[in-house]
Symmetry: C4
Subunit: 230 residues, 4 copies
């Protein structure tokens, strides 16, 4: 079942590797079929080389395996929290990519230092608060998802398509698994450029709200004029 | 029409990707046919993989689409300002390459720290001033072009074949689209080496005018002796 | 003899190169046959391109060459000390990979700044003390091995699968040669991310013991639930 | 004439590119036939892609072109000074590789922070003094060579197989063109690791003379025991 979605999710996972965002078996991407309420996700700890669509695992929104011979990613509950909370997202990705993870380890949100950032995020890339010890020792992966939702708070997740989980790594989302992975690529590049920027100008501040919104809105929303009309 | 120029502009855009200067669909290059006053430019938001010469868009110097099924790059007006202002340039490129963009985000020009830099720029790589809010909310892409022209000021654009647009990224130019892209490659490498240099010697100053001009003039101008005579 | 182990050790050495951890002929990996008490190791100073299993050298635990036309790696004695000391390891790898070596040159252990680190090390990546002049001028490579053992001290080498040798580079180990190399890849990535983290947050501290153990133990030990059960 | 040497010099130049040390047409390598006193060198400003042995240029030790349709590298005189001064070197290479050039631009020699460095240099990688204005405006490329010789001074060029030319880039040498290029690769890697090391430990000092000589002499000289005996 869901063969097409499995193909797309497998391709999205492979794109994580091709884009240089993963080391060994780290990272994972998933996609959801909203009609059936089923999520397709990468199996846990499986090598990217030779990964096939058939290996993808189907789980329901409570985390029960519906189809698949392998265990789903151990991060599955974090994905599920996001799908349950935000009904208009169709894909989620998680990486330990170098620069995004460094910002996460620094427990810092990424300030909006330029238009590359503003083209994709309508403000800083947020960072979660570190989990309390009880949350770590409890349902850790579910708590991680909840910490993401708390940090996005009242912002629109389509205007903030990713986040840094403190001391951990990046989660991103989008309309599909592949769009979620594209946002992983973008967060890593934003994170790298912001790190170099601070090295060159330690006291630099974020760009103006006008410039940020100009760029965000020329790519997103009803008045967007970047790209091709469909 | 302009089939040869479309081929060259397409190849120049692909070179941006091959040189590692672009992420996803970011970046664009264009070339001009001065006799006809027509510019060939990359379409907006189109993937580099599978890009073809037929997809290139032809616009006139006012920005009207003369030929092409796709929308031209949203940065087209910035390119057009440069072609209108500087009659001896034949190509323009725009990137968000990592180190050049970091300097742009730091709102800093790149000091001439060595002969690699002096081989290609006869002084610092300039940076524009951030745009005023009215310019951002007005004809933003035209204003970006005008900010570039103001920052180059009375300098010869052939001696300063590129610039950093504050909080944004790099624009470069040259005798052709491919030369403009070569200058994008050079600006990124200059930017990377200058960033590392400052990390190693925070108080280092620029090289002497003598050394700078020695290198610039052995590659450029009537007494150049680098490369092959034609 | 030991043809299968030679194949595995050769493949592990080639993986060092494919993973970008070696320059020229630097680095080496070995594996042990515990029943026979024999170690297979890369020959000294041989190019990775065209390396074959037949070139691997067999030595006993005293360092005598048992089979092979080439000299074994000059670092062989360091490997042997580890095999003699820790009976449950099956492979050892040594690299001068960029970031791990930089931490070694800085004579610093790598603090546990995030879950990527905690997934693989149950605490900091340790660093040895610099060798005394007599040790350098004596049986240098044997002394290097002993310094590693002293620095791991009473910790479990399966919970600390690698170390930085001060002013030198990284040694890693595991159940097999290929697992040792995977740990080399992990140490390099941990080292890179930690270096960037300190640049972004110079006063950042390590993660909590709870979070560290949560991640380490979800991947290792009797209650592990990452990956596939076998 | 000198067909074999041309093949080797061409291959050495291509290795510069394959090793990621050059951008565009930057960099060059040469080799000498000591019997005939003739040097084979890369032509000036020619693309690496498609470069052939036939394009290599033969010059005598005064810089006169003996064979070849193209102009020799504009850096040829710098190479010639080294061949004239040091009779036991057989090859020279010059690059603007990123980290080596950053140290050169910082006008700093690279301290010996670890054994990777000591395996190849018996002390710091030296840096020249910046040229005086008269030298820049005079026979600039000859003066560059002389500045290198002055900076190596009474040291053995086989124990210091490369140097940083202040504000410029790296020159390296060796028994052949390919060995000179290998030393370019080594200098770049040493430079990169030293830069990261200083970021992690700003007050770190060089390794002890004992450790430095232990490593240098296990690879070089009569008591070397690294690699294979021939």
């Amino acid at each position: 079942m869901l063969e097409e979605l499995k193909e797309e999710v497998c391709a999205a996972n492979l794109l994580l590797q091709q884009a240089g965002l993963v080391v060994l078996t780290w990272g994972n991407a998933s996609g959801i079929d909203r009609e059936q309420g089923l999520v397709v996700i990468k199996p846990s700890g499986v090598a990217y080389d030779g990964m096939t669509a058939e290996q993808m695992v189907i789980v329901d929104l409570e985390g029960n395996v519906v189809e698949g011979d392998l265990q789903p990613s151990s991060d599955t509950p974090s994905h599920l929290v996001l799908y349950r909370e935000w009904e208009d997202i169709g894909g989620v990705a998680h990486t330990h990519s170098t620069y995004a993870t460094a910002w996460a380890q620094a427990c810092r949100s990424i300030p909006c230092y330029g238009t590359t950032h503003a083209d994709h995020f309508r403000g800083p890339v947020p960072v979660t608060r570190p989990l309390e010890p009880e949350a770590v020792q409890g349902s850790y992966e579910w708590e991680t998802g909840r910490a993401i939702v708390r940090a996005v708070a009242n912002n629109n997740p389509r205007e903030f398509p990713g986040i840094l989980v403190a001391q951990h790594g990046a989660f991103t989302w989008g309309g599909s698994a592949s769009e979620a992975v594209r946002n992983s690529i973008i967060v890593e590049q934003i994170a790298r450029m912001a790190a170099v920027t601070e090295g060159l100008a330690p006291t630099v501040g974020p760009i103006s709200d006008e410039l940020r919104d100009k760029h965000f809105l020329r790519k997103h929303g009803p008045k967007a004029y970047y790209g091709q009309t469909e």
